[in-house]
């Protein structure tokens, strides 16, 4: 697709200059190492991965003349199951009744991802208590529910006594394989046999032993953590390849948000997951199974903060239309668009930035003022409709979810909207404001009727403007949408000027044009790859992993930026299939 990159007074030269004065905190040690090994350009400029080049597409890499960096995966880290992983795993092991009674601890984000928090933070007493209560509740529910499920783990063994060692052993072996996502070691088998026998004798019932074995295994670190230690790679001391069971687990939690099913564990046992081709075909089969849709939507919910909508406070006096129902419709609208592009169309993911269509139910159709395409009546079902051209909406930036989330309680926030675009879409970090600088703006009033007026004066302050110039103008172009995303043309009696620019990618007016400018911004596709990788592996990519991510990005672009293909390529890549040496 042909396009031109609009040059503006705030063009590339200025952008580089801004980085030089330190707006980008990305220029820290890690990054500096990374960039000095590449082009020698300013660290911050390289951070944006391509913004120093005027190359129109991210596929055409400026990094061709770098020395190839050696692949060095990050050291492994135990990854505690996310709350949804825990619940889904209990469901798959013991049925929906058991899943309904568990209350795992909440996730904690680091660097914007629950997965990273779960790979770095330790549990609290309260978390271990929640696991204890949940494990017992799930076990009790499973025993009270469909007993055929429990019997399946006994594999035909009929207990002859409360402490029937053979049948307890059978159960432990079979349930243990599912719960730990690998066969039990002999010492583990012995530990749980002891649990089963002791509690069965205390309770005078074989199945009391089963119940407490389940309760114990669901509290085991082998269930609660993804353990990814790998085996040595004979060709490379820096690399340990994940074994089949570890791969099955990583694949399943990433692509299905739940524990591996028996077929996947069989594939692990048979060595299918030891080869790139085996992983590739397994991933394709998983995608065909349909569960990846929800798993990937959970990733997008996280990076777009959609889960915050349900409790997003808005001032009822300023925004009487705001309601939990409206917020929920907005959440579903954004996911409907993303799922349409990825799963219905298997299309270029950048459509989520600038498609002139959206999805509305009756609530949203009324909110946006969109007529029914065939003159019918909207219902609770979501319908794909064209946006009203006069509202200049397009892609996620024209949707209520983004516009309401990145706003204040009783006003818009051009700064927050711009910060989101820089950080989440372009992977360009914005540092914290400097200390001891007044953070206020000139007051609203006749002299400064619009938010833009106030912020533009603020941008005259040299200290503030170095960073705010990167954020605020993006929001200025979206000022036709108020703090909950309603279209407006006036603010405090004055017509709003929404012609603005997203430096250095060009001028725009409204959400659709913002998306169009960003679609071809260098670095957008690599940013998507990096975010997905962070979620998939529970860590921020390291210098030694960037070369593989760049390769993945090249393939992604060459293939038309189709997420389904990226998922398969990512899990088949060496960076997904390996970890570094265990830290001493």
């Amino acid at each position: 697709m042909a396009h031109t990159l609009t040059r503006s007074p705030l063009g590339l030269g200025l952008l580089a200059c801004l980085f030089a004065v330190g707006c980008y905190s990305g220029a820290d040690q890690d990054t500096a190492t990374f960039t000095s090994a590449s082009t020698g350009a300013s660290a911050a400029t390289d951070m944006t991965d391509g913004s120093e080049t005027s190359a129109p597409t991210e596929g055409d890499s400026e990094t061709g003349d770098e020395p190839p960096a050696e692949f060095e995966p990050a050291s492994p880290s135990l990854r505690r199951l996310l709350a949804r992983h825990y619940v889904n795993s209990v469901r798959d092991l013991l049925g929906p009744g058991a899943a309904a009674v568990v209350t795992p601890p909440d996730d904690t984000k680091l660097n914007g991802f629950d997965a990273i928090g779960s790979a770095q933070l330790a549990v609290s007493d309260a978390a271990v208590e929640a696991y204890e209560v949940s494990a017992r509740a799930a076990a009790a529910e499973a025993m009270a529910g469909n007993i055929a499920q429990i019997e399946a783990y006994l594999a035909g063994c009929t207990p002859q006594a409360p402490d029937d060692q053979n049948c307890h052993g059978q159960f432990i072996q079979n349930f243990g394989l599912r719960a730990f996502r690998r066969p039990l070691e002999p010492a583990e088998q012995a530990t749980y046999l002891e649990v089963a026998q002791t509690t069965a004798l205390e309770g005078g019932d074989f199945f009391v032993g089963v119940e407490y074995t389940i309760a114990a295994m669901l509290q085991s670190p082998n269930f609660l953590y993804q353990v990814e230690l790998g085996v040595p790679d004979p060709d490379d001391a820096n690399v340990r390849r994940l074994n089949g069971y570890e791969m099955a687990t990583r694949l399943s939690y990433f692509l299905r948000d739940t524990t591996p099913d028996p077929a996947l564990l069989d594939a692990a046992a048979e060595g299918v997951l030891d080869t790139e081709q085996g992983v590739r075909s397994t991933a394709q089969a998983i995608l065909a199974g349909g569960q990846t849709r929800t798993a990937l939507s959970n990733f997008y919910s996280e990076i777009l903060h959609l889960d915050e909508l349900s409790s997003l406070p808005k001032d009822p006096g300023t925004y009487p239309l705001w309601s939990p129902q409206l917020a929920e419709s907005m959440r579903r609208e954004t996911l409907a668009l993303i799922e349409d592009v990825i799963w219905q169309q298997d299309g270029d993911i950048r459509w989520i930035l600038d498609t002139p269509f959206t999805f509305v139910d009756a609530t949203l159709a009324e909110f946006y003022g969109i007529p029914h395409p065939s003159g019918g009546v909207f219902t609770e079902a979501f319908l794909k409709v064209p946006q009203l051209p006069e509202h200049k909406r397009g892609g996620i930036f024209g949707q209520g979810a983004f516009l309401a989330l990145f706003a204040h309680i009783s006003s818009t926030s051009p700064t927050h909207r711009g910060k989101f675009v820089r950080e989440t879409v372009l992977c360009q970090p914005i540092p914290a404001p400097p200390p001891d600088v007044a953070t206020d703006l000139p007051p609203a009033g006749a002299e400064n009727p619009t938010a833009r007026d106030r912020l533009e004066k603020h941008m005259n302050d040299e200290v503030c403007s170095t960073c705010h110039v990167l954020m605020d103008p993006i929001g200025f172009g979206l000022e036709n949408y108020d703090g909950i995303g309603s279209f407006r043309t006036m603010e405090n009696g004055v017509e709003i000027n929404t012609v603005s620019e997203v430096t250095p990618y060009g001028e725009f007016d409204g959400a659709l044009e913002l998306g169009q400018r960003l679609r071809d911004a260098p670095g957008v596709s690599l940013c998507m790859v990096r975010k997905l990788f962070r979620h998939a592996t529970g860590h921020v990519e390291t210098v030694g992993e960037m070369p593989t991510l760049r390769d993945l990005d090249d393939g992604f672009v060459a293939d038309g930026l189709r997420m389904q293909q990226l998922l398969v390529d990512l899990v088949a890549s060496q960076t997904f299939r390996s970890v570094g040496p265990v830290e001493p």
């Binding site: 492994p76 007044a438 007051p443």
Partner: protein, 457 residues
């Protein structure tokens, strides 16, 4: 009295029972004969328990002059005892004698990259500079550099009680996107933030309904299951790297704590009635005052029954967007502190928060123990993450050290104007009030082994 129906609680003493290889304090109604003749200690000479609460609010206080970052309206110019109360401190009028107001402390515990809010909350509440977490230009986050002061105290006294500590949250408008430093105020260490409870009913359950009856038949089975978990943790520790070994060590400690709780015997304290409050918003409005009050009541009861001795209360969040709707406001608190035009609103919100803080102090003061009250035996530390949010200043952070700390802190309380002393010195004075054997707090440039003498009795 808010929502709880309070029952009379007798003074009580402690028995110690051997449980799971360690001891757990059991509270039973006290008999006068168990106390010494003064009623200020047990007849056998052992002291009444000491308690600590940290009380946090985000984003600092208002300024007298919004062009002057140093012009806080917080403290009066007069120092010493009987200091006059500014409008912001006026809600403390009937507990002022229990409040040491400390000004002009300097935050020594600072990462060289000073970052608004992050610097203050970690430095002030732990004495360690925050740890920066933004590899490869990922969205910036940070974590505490070391244990928060409440957890430093829990490390000394937590094993004496059913729960080593509890963490409470009043406002739910918390920023979660910049890491544990802003999200939580209690941290056992950099990698172990302790998420709080925001629902008073859940707090009630945790404090008063967590006990397993001694004759519960599932008790030995639950302990057996946890024994197996311990074995698995120990085996896994052998295979993983150094960081994960530490994380598993924390997991192991928590498993052992849960075992201890399962085996603990309930105090003979009569539990209060279940509160009706659940911290559920009505039409988008948070029930800040009712939640804060009922939590204060529950905490006083829990202290009185010696169920725990350490608590943290996050009243509002760092960068939090709490709306003080009861003051007619419709903006988030953090946003307001960053607008000079909203300075009066910030001032009003501070006064409202001091009313809530004073309610907590009164609950402790009005609960008798020995010949005194719980506040005599407690240290309650109030602080924030900025002096003024408008400038993100971290010098002269709001600081009140309330309670007599078992007689270790000045009474009647004074306004002590420090001479740029290390804020960690104040932390150490608080810690030693609970654990006299403590010798230092904090780390790196925030390290201190000199308790702030200006507030010591």
């Amino acid at each position: 009295m808010y929502l709880l129906k309070k029952r009379h609680l007798s003074r009580r003493t402690f028995l110690r029972g051997a449980v799971a290889g360690s001891t757990v304090a059991l509270a039973v109604p006290i008999l006068e004969a168990m106390l010494n003749s003064n009623g200020d200690a047990f007849a056998n000479g052992s002291e009444l328990p000491r308690r600590m609460i940290t009380w946090f609010f985000g984003n600092g206080v208002a300024l007298a002059n919004t062009d002057d970052a140093g012009s806080l309206m917080w403290a009066p110019p007069e120092t010493g005892a009987n200091y006059p109360l500014t409008p912001q401190l006026a809600p403390l009028s009937d507990v002022r004698d229990y409040c040491n107001l400390v000004t002009k402390l300097k935050l020594f515990a600072k990462h060289p990259e000073v970052r608004g809010h992050h610097t203050g909350v970690s430095g002030y509440f732990s004495g360690y500079p925050y740890i920066k977490l933004d590899p490869m230009g990922a969205n910036y986050s940070s974590k505490f550099g070391g244990p928060s002061i409440d957890q430093a105290a829990a490390a000394f006294v937590g094993s004496e009680t059913f729960l080593p500590s509890v963490q409470l949250r009043v406002s739910k408008r918390i920023v979660t996107s910049e890491g544990p430093t802003l999200e939580f105020i209690s941290h056992k260490g950099p990698d172990q933030p302790l998420p709080p409870i925001h629902n008073p009913q859940e707090l009630f359950n945790k404090l008063f309904l967590g006990f397993v009856p001694p004759d519960d038949p599932t008790k030995p089975q639950r302990l057996t299951a946890l024994d197996a978990v311990r074995e698995d943790v120990l085996r896994l520790q052998q295979k993983v790297g150094a960081n994960d070994k530490q994380r598993l060590q924390a997991h192991l400690a928590s498993v052992e704590q849960v075992q201890k709780q399962i085996d603990a015997i309930a105090p003979l304290c009569e539990p209060p009635a279940m509160p009706g409050e659940t911290n559920t918003d009505m039409e988008g409005k948070e029930p800040l005052e009712p939640v804060s009050s009922v939590m204060a009541e529950l905490l006083a009861l829990a202290f009185s029954c010696d169920i725990t001795r350490v608590a943290s209360i996050q009243f509002t969040g760092s960068v939090g967007y709490t709306v003080f709707h009861m003051l007619g406001q419709n903006k988030g608190h953090h946003d307001m502190t960053h607008e000079a035009a909203d300075n009066a609103g910030v001032d009003a919100s501070t006064i409202k928060m001091m009313e809530c803080f004073a309610y907590l102090l009164r609950q402790l003061r009005d609960t008798s123990e020995g010949d005194g009250n719980l506040l005599d035996q407690s240290v309650v530390l109030l602080g924030s993450d900025c002096a003024s949010g408008l400038y993100h200043t971290d010098y002269d952070l709001p600081c009140i050290v309330a309670g007599r700390g078992g007689g270790t802190l000045k009474y009647p309380g004074v306004h002590y104007r420090s001479n740029d002393e290390n804020a960690s010195d104040m932390l150490l004075a608080c810690l030693k009030a609970v654990a006299p054997e403590a010798t230092s707090v904090g780390g790196d440039n925030g390290y201190s082994e000199t308790p702030l003498s200006g507030i010591l009795a």
